[in-house]
């Protein structure tokens, strides 16, 4: 049996559904609320205020606000398989089965061991960590363990797998209206009526904004919310309008790119699997209207953080929206008129308004007279100088107050109470404006920072613009939206300006919104210090901390923010920022305008990492590209490796074989019989146009203009810095037509680079490039039996396999499949790269394997390919090169044309430093112990006995066991390596083993003359 909702009123708000009770638990105790309740309103309905402990001092904290501004009521929600920390109870809608718990307490809210921190508050001032744990530096590792334990807000789930689904959605609109309050609704309506595509988004569960709470006024002769309901209904019915609720606009970026986080199923007890928990909208809006409203400021006085102390606007919201009277003996503390309406609401709801304490000396408003007539004790020119209580407010001290000099001028009167509603004025929600680098200007009249509306693309209206009076806000919304619509209509025929646009009439114009700014209520009594006058509730930053920061020399608002942590953490200072600036300004004897403000940065409220990742997780994290032979590799037990986004067959282990045994078998078979490699991933570019030869001459270091038709040539491509960028074989198909191949991983980069050259540098060249990487499947057949197998497979003119010189190309048919066959080799064996239209790739591969069976044809993967090419000393760009390697470093002087007038990288190569003998140069290494394989990436030194740090000679770029040579082989880039051949080097080992001794040799280990290759 759950406890009674003792604080629920008899009234009948439409926001909650009394027909649908909802069961939930908080800190293990079961409660009942109603559908539509937030966790905060449901707890308050039970009289539960204490919902958390503060971050630093572990002070008991209650619910302060009623929306995203809430700094205190951060709770953790448990799901069946994980948990989510730091959710605001004021925004979390309850559902059947919700399991919520408080945070930052051990073992329980009522008894929290770390609350001992608060007794030592004087030892935890601003900058505590910096001051305390700086010395001795060696002890930091020790301190850190304890600090980590105590630090941080909330605890993340131990289960790292997030079972929830998050999605992304792109959207475009003519107008985004941020905020569904009165101004936002009017703006959306004006734009929608003109035919604009409108999205209106609000973070609450329904549109209406403060109209959901303020029932004191009429719009167009009917209660404000009735007007709003009519507008909302109309907007919902219009196909050009999208209404989004539970949608937080997290970020506003350049060009009106907006990120919105929509909570789709979070509030439901049954969450359907096909719907995401959250949906991240990536929105492009032609125009943005910021109607984000305003947030009330707390007043800063000693004990203002006690549970039972609440923002006045929130107290009213709980009464009107949720039928919850949060306190029955209330003190109202204000510096403006608005809190009187809260007092009236409490009074009308049956609560006892003990006293209204108004900082203003002699305010004149109708509402004040009304309150006095009701017999309520109104004390103007007074302040609450302290609130008292242990886990809940129990009493206050009230005194006459001199706002000029800051201090009480009479003895304090002690008054008991169980609730305090405070109002320090309003802060427009300028975050989205500020995120765009929009300037903020201090408005003396309303004592708030207002956005400076300077952009044509985004405008703030209503309370977000400092226009707090409903009538004026509606007029402003109408006028500004109409002018935006006129601008939109010029570019968009769909949008037709409707004139004249009626401005809704309202009777709300009597209220005096201008607060009397008093940033800090001084108690004037030595036993009540500023140390419990909290400015930033979430970070436990007090007025005393700000004053201390100033004393310690922090004067810039940005420095003070970081030093005291005011305005940081998950609430981003929504309630604290302006008060902090006010106290800072007073302490510095400056005006607020002179003191300035900090910049708000996205996100507006914390956005879950799940929403940011969306569905780009698991197997969709990064696309996996497969070749058309992939299914064969898979069926034949291949192990795969990632090469860029490609998934390539790495090796094909047979039963009982380990990695090395497999590689040995594949390499041996290729050298002695024949091997087949899927080389489809090679980048392929079709180069066509009358200037193709000249183009290739410019991008490769060697000469391509002289390449005869039907012949292939290996080329090395440099960037302008003279460093090797890519390599590959290019074949001339016709006078004006070439077929270029690139490395697998570099293909996209090479094509982009070549296109850039053609489009920006060499517009005089008539050349077209087309990527044909996936057009062709490539099977590379190599080994002594390659020619025999090829011949057996050729459909026509089988003899042409005999007359097939090295580095030439033939177009023919294999097994009835049209093919381009290139006699080129990366293994050092006689080899044929057979290209067929990709759809036949699998057929070609299977046919070759079938026919090749009697000739011991073996499929080999990329690892065996690496060994085979390393035995021949062939480089792999990206393995032997790293962007700092020239052709000379690779001892490939032969490939750099001396005759060509120019090519990319030529100028750089001509610098004397490029051919310096001390550059790292490519050499081979043979270990003294033939069975020791050097780890790739290991460093080489000349003297293994020197002191650490040792003088490095260079690093090992490739290293394998060569089954053909029956010993290990390696390639390395060593300083001055070319002149060191014959010398010994040592490879120190990370695992403490003896350094490996190796001899520097030529990197060609096998068939130095290339007889096998040429056949």
């Amino acid at each position: 049996m759950s406890p009674k909702q003792s604080h629920r009123l008899r009234a009948n708000s439409t926001a909650i559904n009394r027909q649908k009770p909802v069961q939930f638990t908080f800190d293990g105790k079961q409660y009942t609320g109603f559908e539509g309740d937030t966790l905060a309103s449901a707890l308050l309905a039970h009289g539960v205020h204490l919902v958390g402990r503060s971050f630093k001092y572990h002070r008991p904290r209650g619910i302060l606000g009623c929306g995203s501004e809430e700094p205190n009521a951060l709770i953790r929600v448990r799901h069946p398989s994980n948990a989510e920390p730091n959710l605001r109870a004021t925004q979390l809608e309850i559902y059947d089965g919700l399991v919520a718990e408080s945070q930052n307490r051990f073992p329980s809210l009522n008894v929290d061991f770390l609350s001992i921190n608060s007794m030592f508050a004087r030892f935890f001032p601003a900058g505590f960590y910096y001051k305390t744990f700086m010395w001795p530096a060696s002890l930091w590792m020790f301190y850190e363990r304890f600090i980590r334990q105590a630090a941080g807000l909330g605890k993340v789930s131990k289960n790292h797998h997030d079972p929830d689904r998050y999605e992304h959605k792109y959207a475009h609109c003519d107008l985004l209206v941020a905020g569904g309050g009165a101004s936002g609704l009017q703006a959306a309506l004006v734009a929608a009526n003109a035919g604009a595509r409108v999205i209106i988004a609000d973070e609450q569960s329904e549109l209406g904004g403060w109209l959901l709470t303020d029932n004191n006024f009429n719009i167009d002769q009917k209660p404000a919310m009735d007007w709003a309901s009519t507008v909302i209904k109309k907007l919902h019915s219009m196909p050009n309008v999208t209404c989004l609720v539970r949608t937080t606009i997290a970020a506003s970026m350049d060009d009106n790119f907006i990120l919105m986080a929509e909570r789709v199923t979070e509030h439901l007890s049954i969450k359907e699997a096909h719907l995401p928990k959250q949906r991240l909208w990536k929105l492009r809006a032609a125009k943005v209207i910021l109607a984000t409203g305003a947030i009330e400021r707390p007043l800063i006085f000693s004990g203002n953080d006690l549970p039972g102390v609440m923002l006045s606007s929130a107290a009213r919201s709980y009464i009107f929206r949720y039928d919850v009277l949060a306190g029955t003996r209330a003190i109202i503390f204000t510096n403006n008129d608005d809190a009187y309406y809260t007092a009236l609401a409490i009074h009308q709801a049956g609560g006892f308004v003990r006293c209204i304490v108004d900082l203003r000396d002699n305010p004149k408003s109708q509402i004040i007279t009304t309150m006095r007539k009701l017999g309520i004790d109104v004390r103007t020119g007074h302040a609450v100088i302290a609130a008292h209580g242990t886990r809940h407010i129990a009493s206050v001290d009230i005194a006459e107050y001199d706002t000029e000099n800051g201090g009480p001028t009479s003895d304090a009167v002690h008054m008991d109470c169980n609730f305090l509603a405070m109002s320090g004025g309003l802060n427009p929600v300028v975050h989205l404006h500020s995120q765009r680098k929009g300037r903020l200007v201090w408005d003396e009249r309303t004592s708030c920072y207002r956005p400076e509306n300077k952009s044509d693309d985004w405008v703030s209206i209503g309370s977000a613009n400092g226009t707090f009076q409903l009538g004026r806000a509606l007029a402003q919304a109408t006028r500004i939206t109409s002018s935006l619509v006129t601008k939109l209509a010029k570019e968009n025929r769909r949008i037709i300006v409707q004139e004249p646009v009626a401005i809704p009439e309202t009777d709300e114009n009597k209220q005096n919104w201008a607060p009397l700014p008093v940033w800090l209520v001084q108690s004037g009594q030595p036993y009540i210090s500023n140390k419990t006058a909290f400015v930033d509730f979430q970070n436990d930053a007090t007025a005393a901390d700000i004053k201390l920061a100033v004393r310690e020399g922090y004067h810039s608002v940005e420095h003070v923010k970081r030093y005291t942590t005011t305005g940081m953490a998950t609430d981003q200072g929504k309630t604290s920022n302006i008060n902090a600036i006010g106290i800072l300004a007073n302490t510095l004897n400056k005006s607020i305008a002179q003191t300035g403000t900090t910049t708000f940065r996205p996100p507006y409220t914390p956005t879950s990492l799940g929403a940011i990742a969306g569905r780009n997780i698991g197997s969709l994290f990064d696309p996996i590209r497969t070749t058309r032979m992939h299914s064969w590799h898979h069926a034949n037990g291949a192990t795969f490796e990632h090469v860029g986004q490609w998934m390539r067959a790495w090796y094909y282990p047979r039963e009982g074989e380990n990695f090395q045994q497999t590689i040995n078998r594949e390499v041996h078979a290729t050298r002695h019989y024949a091997g087949l490699l899927d080389a489809s991933t090679l980048g392929k570019i079709d180069v066509k146009g009358p200037d193709s030869a000249e183009f290739l001459n410019r991008v490769y270091t060697n000469n391509f203009a002289t390449l005869p038709i039907g012949k292939s040539r290996y080329g090395l491509m440099l960037k302008e810095d003279g460093m090797v960028f890519d390599d590959g074989v290019t074949t001339r198909l016709a006078e004006d037509h070439f077929y270029m191949t690139t490395t697998s991983g570099g293909a996209a980069g090479v094509l982009a680079w070549l296109e850039e050259l053609l489009q920006t540098e060499w517009q005089d060249l008539n050349v077209y490039l087309t990527s044909v990487t996936e057009q062709w499947s490539v099977a590379s057949l190599s080994g002594p039996n390659a020619k025999t197998i090829l011949k057996a497979c050729m459909s026509e003119d089988k003899n042409s396999a005999d007359d097939f010189p090295f580095m030439t190309m033939k177009e023919t048919f294999i097994a009835g499949i049209p093919a381009r066959i290139f006699r080129i080799s990366f293994t050092g064996e006689m080899a044929f790269e057979i290209n067929v239209p990709a759809r036949y790739g699998l057929a070609l591969w299977s046919h070759l394997m079938r026919v090749g069976k009697e000739f011991n044809l073996t499929a080999y993967g990329t690892e065996a390919m690496h060994v085979l090419r390393a035995e021949k000393g062939f480089i792999i760009v990206g393995q032997e090169t790293d962007g700092t390697v020239t052709p000379y470093d690779l001892d490939m002087h032969w490939i750099v044309s001396k005759k060509k007038p120019d090519f990319i990288g030529k100028r750089a190569l001509e610098r004397t430093s490029m051919d310096e003998p001390h550059r790292k140069q490519l050499v081979g290494l043979l270990t003294e112990d033939p069975n020791k394989v050097i780890p790739e990436g290991a460093h080489a030194v000349l003297d293994p006995d020197q002191e650490i740090p040792m003088a490095m000679l260079g690093h090992v770029s490739s290293s394998y066991y060569s089954p053909n040579l029956k010993r290990s082989i390696a390639m390395a880039l060593l300083k001055g390596g070319l002149n060191r051949k014959g010398q010994n080097v040592y490879i120190p080992m990370l695992d403490g083993q003896k350094p490996i001794k190796a001899k520097i040799v030529d990197p060609v280990f096998f068939d130095k003359q290339g007889d096998r290759l040429r056949g």
């Binding site: 999605e167 992304h168 959605k169 792109y170 959207a171 475009h172 595509r197 359907e272 699997a273 096909h274 719907l275 990536k282 492009r284 769909r494 569905r615 780009n616 197997s619 969709l620 990064d622 696309p623 996996i624 590209r625 497969t626 070749t627 058309r628 992939h630 299914s631 898979h634 490609w646 079709d686 066509k688 146009g689 009358p690 004006d736 008539n766 077209y768 087309t770 990527s771 044909v772 990487t773 996936e774 057009q775 062709w776 177009e811 048919f813 097994a815 009835g816 499949i817 049209p818 093919a819 381009r820 290209n835 239209p837 990709a838 759809r839 036949y840 790739g841 699998l842 057929a843």
Partner: protein, 205 residues
Amino acid sequence: MADTSPHMVIGNSAFSNRILPIIKKPESLKTPQIELSEIRHLGKLNIRCTSKTRDMVSKLTQCNLSLQPNQSDSKAGRIALCLGPDEYLILAEQGSEIQLKKTLNSSDIVKQIAVTNVSDALCALSLSGKKVRDLLAKGCPIDLHPDSFSKNQSAQCDLALANVILICLEEDAFICICRTSFAEYVLDWCLDAGFEFGISASAGI
């Protein structure tokens, strides 16, 4: 030429690693609202030409290439897309691209143009159904509102992490062209994103 039609072997689908059809839908939904299938071996020619030769290419291919970038035109069973100021893609009936390429390459303008058969490099997917725009909006940053992206419009854009070309055939029917090596990624992504609306993926013909 190497891309002459073969006699013995039938080519593989871009989805040859997968067993199709696959249907993903919420239990509450009777039938999937999105259909995905491969338009197998659709002929695709990439054509590069300047304004000087464009009319001739149009004539030889019986396609209208007087298009702005991101426009397409369908005529006599062929769809021509303008991918950029000098780049076009022609989609033609399976196999017909070979003759089309020959025709262009034996014309007088052969030296001034580049005709490349990309039928196997690119894979064409048919995507249709009343929720197809909602599906695409989950991964495609362009404005997919029917007012902005309608019949005969095309775009080279992202679909999640793949580059695609989208062609709007009808209000709820699109062709999505991607590199063949990305076909399975695009399929998997569509199946995942389409789950909400119900999606049926078939091998096509």
